[in-house]
Every structure is written in structure tokens, then in C-alpha cells.
């Protein structure tokens, strides 16, 4: 296992380097002068020149990259040009709502997908199965923002049960905070649940057709014990993989969800930075998200090796 961790970690280094180069290049992809794009035309030329100097844009590109990397290695991701605060502080402030949203969404998706996926496979071709597969299809084809608006319409506008935007911290306000997170978490969680249901159903069906299941049935085990003891464990391996593969979609979904529900999370910060043309902030946040994404993928890879010993020795 130790060797696997080391190998994976080493393989991450070149990718991380390329990612930093890509994020650095981002600002230079702008057609025209990035400073002109970031600031209004009316802004005085001397102000623009100062910003250009601050960002190092008056230097040759390799000097800029070197300086940027040196700062990066010291943990300095630059400063927002709008509020002048370091990127790290901007992101740090926004982490809590995003993490709470992700945790709640993940919990909802597992609560919905686990029984639905298992029942769909165990009662294949019945109405439960048809419900499960239709739910999965709807969930996969339904864009996040549309589902969000549908939920807002039903539970916020018509029934008036839940708040439709804004954020209250559940760790401080308890129930009130949870209420503010229910609709966003449902939006994100149901989309994820659709993918997990589909994967769980299909991997359960694969496992159900294995010889060891026939043996288990032949020795007289009840169907529920067969499923709990033999099928489910083996069927969970592809689910973990898919959860890992879905991380990117989850983060993208969080961007949209936070935008729709006005949640002050990291996703919302990306959108705001993009529209404020605050390129240093965009660079910093995108880099942090990418690093987070790479590390979570690494964690999933390792988790996968831990669950399925066959992977370790490959």
C-alpha cells in the first residue's frame, strides 16, 4: 500500500506542474491587453501602468512565470484586484458553505441511491426497477440549474416551505441554517444520486450473476443475506470509482447551485471573479480547485486500492 501511495504521489508532480503552467497561461490567453480587459476604458493610463507593474506584466514571460511560481511555493497565490485581499483569504472565507453543501449533497445522494439501486437490481424488471431507471435517466439529463429552479418553484414559491436563497451557517444557527441548505443540497444530491443509482444497479446485476451468488443461494441463504453478505460488497467497488469520477461534475454542479441559491461558497466566488474580470483571483481560485480536485482523485484512487486488494498488486 505504501508503494502505491508513493507511486501515485510521484505521478501527480508533473501533472501539478503542467496545471500551474496552464493557470499561469490563462491570463495571457486574453485577446488584447489583460489590464485593458480588467479595467474600464475610462481608467487613467497611469493606474493601468501601476497594475501592469504590480502583476509583473511588463516583464518577459519567463520572468513572470518564475516570479509567480516562487510566490506560489511560498503559499502566496496573489491578491484580488477588486478587494485587494489575498486569494487564500478570499477562498478560506468561502470554504465553509461549500463543504457543508458538498457533505449534505453526498449524504442525500447516498440515502436516495443506495436503496433505489439495490431494489432496482434485486427486483429487476418490476415497477420499482422502472422507477429507478427512469429516475436515473432524468437525473442525468436534467441540468442542475433547471432542477434548482424546479425545486425553488415547488418548495419555495408554491408551498413556501423553504428559503429560496441566502445562507445561514448551520453550525451557528442550527435548524435555520440547515433549512437554507436543503434546496441547494437536494439539487446537487439528486443529480449525483441518479448516477450512483445507475452504477449501483448495473454493478449489482453483474454481481448477482456471479457463481458465488449461485453457491450462496444453493446453500440455502435467504435472498436478503445473499445481497447483504455477497452482492453488495462486490457491487460497491464500481460505485466508489464512479463517485471519484463524478467529483468534477459535483464541483461544476456546486458552481451552478451556489450561483442559483446565492450561497457564498467557492463556486460562487469563481463566477463572481470571472464576471468582475478579476484575473488574479480567477487564477488563484481555479488553481486551488484544481489542486483540490487532483488530491481528491488521488484519495479516491487510494481508497479504491484499499477496498479492492487486487488493485494494489497491479
Amino acid at each position: 500500500m505504501g508503494r502505491l501511495v508513493l507511486r501515485r504521489l510521484l505521478a501527480t508532480i508533473p501533472v501539478l506542474l503542467l496545471v500551474t503552467a496552464g493557470v499561469f497561461a490563462l491570463i495571457h490567453l486574453t485577446p488584447g491587453d489583460p489590464v485593458d480587459v480588467m479595467m474600464a476604458e475610462s481608467v487613467d493610463d497611469s493606474v493601468k501602468a501601476t497594475l501592469r507593474r504590480q502583476l509583473g506584466l511588463d516583464q518577459p514571460i519567463y520572468v513572470q512565470y518564475g516570479a509567480w511560481m516562487a510566490k506560489l511555493l511560498r503559499g502566496d497565490l496573489g491578491r484580488s484586484i477588486r478587494n485587494g485581499e489575498p486569494v487564500i483569504e478570499n477562498v478560506g472565507r468561502r470554504m465553509r458553505p461549500s463543504l457543508q453543501l458538498a457533505a449534505l449533497a453526498m449524504a442525500i445522494s447516498l440515502m436516495v441511491a443506495t436503496p433505489l439501486g439495490i431494489l432496482s437490481a434485486a427486483r429487476r424488471n418490476t415497477s420499482v426497477d422502472r422507477f429507478g431507471t427512469t429516475f436515473a435517466l432524468f437525473g442525468i439529463c436534467m441540468p442542475n440549474f433547471l432542477l434548482a429552479l424546479l425545486l425553488i418553484f415547488c418548495f419555495g414559491v408554491k408551498l413556501r416551505w423553504l428559503p429560496i436563497s441566502g445562507y445561514t451557517d448551520p453550525l451557528e444557527e442550527g435548524l435555520q441554517g440547515l433549512r437554507s441548505l436543503v434546496l441547494p443540497a437536494l439539487t446537487l444530491g439528486l443529480a449525483l444520486a441518479a448516477v450512483v443509482t445507475r452504477t449501483l444497479r448495473s454493478s449489482m446485476l453483474d454481481a448477482l450473476s456471479e457463481d458465488y451468488v449461485r453457491t450462496a443461494r444453493a446453500k440455502g441463504l435467504s435472498e436478503s443475506r445473499v445481497i447483504r453478505g455477497h452482492v453488495l460488497k462486490n457491487a460497491l467497488i464500481p460505485v466508489v470509482t464512479v463517485l471519484g469520477l463524478q467529483l468534477g461534475t459535483l464541483i461544476g454542479g456546486a458552481v451552478i447551485t451556489e450561483y442559483v441559491f446565492a450561497l457564498p461558497g467557492v463556486g460562487r466566488l469563481v463566477v463572481d471573479a470571472v464576471f468582475a474580470r478579476d484575473y488574479p483571483l480567477v487564477q488563484g481560485v481555479v488553481l486551488l480547485i484544481a489542486i483540490g480536485f487532483i488530491l481528491s482523485n488521488l484519495a479516491v484512487d487510494l481508497l479504491y486500492g484499499w477496498i479492492d486488494p487486487r488493485i494494489r498488486y497491479r
Partner: protein
């Protein structure tokens, strides 16, 4: 598994090369017949054809100018004059939806075509030349895959500037690694086959082997992946337009219409409903079609469940 294409269990399966590559042209009709036999495939094709016809004939069939405002008739309920009602500045929702179809299809097909060409060339280059070039190209693709797709598209869209062109390029970049990986895997399998060895032994130049033997045989999984990616590209374009990148106001796209209508959910839900339904139906249809194409092109992946 960790090295396979992200986000699509289907695409992972497509990673496996075809068992016996038959000549592509001779199989074409058999493939179409097979696609028609799958239960939901024809439905997908109908949706898709309908969308293409609507997009192509937009100027002829849209009852009103999609940009023409009529403030006296804002938020009008659907009636005979405006079958799908009007939006907050009195524009006809049906006309805007029809023009939005164009944007969605152009973005969906444009970005996937771009990704298919770029990814195909890069994958061919990596798989065929091997060595350092292979390592460089594939690490580059890994780096692109290290960004969550929507975040990368958002960042690229931001620097490339709002507008359809920026979105198409941004989504094209996002989907390129998928095709590059697939093409590389195909090339590696195909170049190990006897007929490629035979061609080499006969003295065929490298480009000719690539063009005549490798490309046609690698095409099937690429087509499968493309047909599945279009649906996701259309969804992604709608998401970016919803966030405000993509077609700029007053231009019409499904995503931007939905964003504009979300403030009027209570008074005028139809502003959101119709483009939302169009988007959903198109994506479902494309998924059905993609599944049918996959089943037809690769019998081993045919669903028996």
C-alpha cells in the same frame, strides 16, 4: 479504471477496442438497421432531426423577431398570438426558443467536432510516435483533465471573451482529452495487429498506414464517444449561458432564457418552462441516440438488461 474517461461509465466501456474491425463502409447500413432496432434509438433520432430542422429553418418558422421587444405586452400568458407567452420585455418565447435551438446545436456539435479533431490528431500523434511525444501529449491531457470541466470552461470562456465562439473553443478544449485518450488507446491496439505489420512489411509509409489502416478502424469508438458527448456539450453550453457566458443579451439561447426568466417564476413560469423542456428533451433524445449508436457499432456492449 482510474485512467479511464471521467464521468461516463459508458465511455469507459468504449475504451475497449472492437474485437474484429470490419471494413467501415460495408457495415454502414447494417449499423443503421441495428440502430433503428433498439427501442429508444428511433425516438432519439426523431428528436435530433426535429432539432436540426428547427435550427435550420429558424428564420422561416419563428413567428416573431426573437429580439423585438413589446413592453406593453410583457409577461403575457400563452395564447393564440404568443403560443408560449412572452418574456419580461414582451419578446415572443416561442421565437426565442426556436433561435436558441441554433445556438445549442452549434455549440454542441461545434465543440465536439473541435474536440474530436484536436483529440484525434493528438491521440494519433501520441500513440503512433510513442516515446517522449507520447509522454508529453498524455501528461498535457492529464493536466486538462485535472480541472473540473465546468470550472475550466468558465475560466477559458472568461479569458476568451463571452460569445458563442469562446464557449465552443472552451468546451472543445474541455472535451479534447477524452478523444485523445480514446484515439491513443485505439492506435496502440491497432498498430499491434497483423495487417498493420503486413502493410509495414510491404513498405507502406507511416502516414499511409495511419490514414488507411489505423484511422478507419479507430473510427467506431470515436463516433460512439462523439454521439454521447454532444448531449453533455449542449448541457454545458446551457450552463455557461445560464451563468452569463455564451451568447450575450439580447441574443437568445436556452440557458440565458432560463436565467432571465428565473426572476419571474411566480408570475410567468413559462419563460423558464419552455426552453427548459426543449433542453431536457434534446438531451434525453441525444442520449437515446448515443446509446443506440453505441449498441449498433459495438455488439459486445449491447445492453441485455
Amino acid at each position: 479504471m482510474a485512467g479511464s474517461i471521467r464521468g461516463s461509465g459508458i465511455a469507459e466501456a468504449a475504451d475497449t477496442p472492437l474485437a474484429s474491425p470490419a471494413p467501415v463502409c460495408g457495415r454502414r447500413w447494417a449499423v443503421l438497421r441495428q440502430a433503428a432496432r433498439t427501442r429508444l434509438g428511433p425516438l432519439g433520432v426523431v428528436v435530433m432531426l426535429l432539432a436540426i430542422v428547427v435550427a435550420a429553418l429558424a428564420p422561416a418558422i419563428s413567428p416573431y423577431d426573437p429580439l423585438k421587444q413589446d413592453l406593453g405586452n410583457a409577461l403575457a400568458r400563452p395564447d393564440r398570438a404568443h403560443l408560449m407567452g412572452t418574456d419580461n420585455v414582451g419578446r415572443d418565447v416561442l421565437s426565442r426558443m426556436i433561435w436558441g435551438t441554433r445556438v445549442s446545436l452549434m455549440a454542441g456539435f461545434g465543440s465536439v467536432a473541435l474536440a474530436m479533431i484536436a483529440g484525434g490528431v493528438l491521440g494519433l500523434l501520441a500513440g503512433y510516435t510513442g516515446g517522449r511525444m507520447d509522454g508529453l501529449v498524455m501528461r498535457l491531457m492529464d493536466a486538462v483533465l485535472s480541472f473540473p470541466p465546468l470550472v475550466l470552461a468558465l475560466a477559458l470562456g472568461a479569458v476568451l471573451g463571452a460569445g458563442l465562439g469562446g464557449v465552443v473553443v472552451a468546451l472543445g478544449v474541455v472535451y479534447t482529452p477524452t478523444f485523445a485518450r480514446l484515439m491513443r488507446a485505439q492506435v496502440l491496439t491497432i498498430t499491434a495487429r497483423e495487417y498493420v505489420e503486413a502493410a509495414r512489411a510491404l513498405g507502406a509509409p507511416g502516414w499511409r498506414i495511419a490514414w488507411q489502416h489505423v484511422l478507419p478502424n479507430a473510427a467506431a469508438p470515436i463516433v460512439i464517444q462523439a454521439s454521447l458527448s454532444v448531449a453533455f456539450a449542449i448541457l454545458a453550453e446551457a450552463s455557461l449561458s445560464f451563468l452569463g457566458l455564451g451568447i450575450q443579451p439580447p441574443g437568445a439561447s436556452w440557458g440565458s432564457m432560463i436565467n432571465a426568466g428565473r426572476g419571474y417564476l411566480q408570475q410567468a413560469p413559462w419563460i423558464v418552462f419552455w426552453p427548459g423542456a426543449a433542453l431536457f428533451v434534446t438531451v434525453v433524445g441525444l442520449n437515446f441516440m448515443g446509446d443506440a449508436v453505441r449498441d449498433a457499432l459495438d455488439p459486445r456492449l449491447r445492453k441485455t438488461r
